[in-house]
Amino acid sequence: MGVPFEALLPYGIILGMFGLSGYGISFVKGFANDGKKARWNRDLWDRQMMERDLRLTGSERGQSSNPTAPKGFDVSNPWKVEKRIF
């Protein structure tokens, strides 16, 4: 006796939803990382180098082997500021 198809509907929904969220996460991650594999376990060095990459190429994952910086790079270094607390 065959299994009625109604019994399989919830599994279809479960599979579809997990698949959708998995695909969504991978899409967002790929979008955020310019299609490269995401970085992990970054330390302070990596983070500040990624900020430097952002200033140089306009993207945190952008890479350039240009020995000379684009115009305006030398004045683009930001200081992170916060409100005074005392």
């Binding site: 004045v75 930001p78 500021v81």
Partner: protein, 119 residues
Amino acid sequence: MPQDMPPSGGYAQVQYKRNIPARGFKPWQYMLGMHAIMAYGFYRYFQGVREQRELAREKMWSRLHIMPLLQAEEDRDQVRRYYADKAREKELLGEETKVYNSDRFIRPTFGYLPANATK
């Protein structure tokens, strides 16, 4: 009066010895096997530790080699901003001021923040 007496010819032999064949290896063989497995595990572990140490050394030296150029870049930027602050101060106050009683370069803790500072 009749008494309970041993049966004629005495009691039968009580079977107290067991005659089950010992399964598996000898105990010392198990001991040896365990030690061999442990020794191999420790061998691999220390190999891994050594390789990790070399990898960490490589990573640190790759950073050390490019650190001076990044530092030089940063220092130039700091100096540029220092002189820019000085010039701005002179323009606003009309005179050179000295906040710290020191010749050293001090990264400013407090600064003037224009209203549209966020990029």
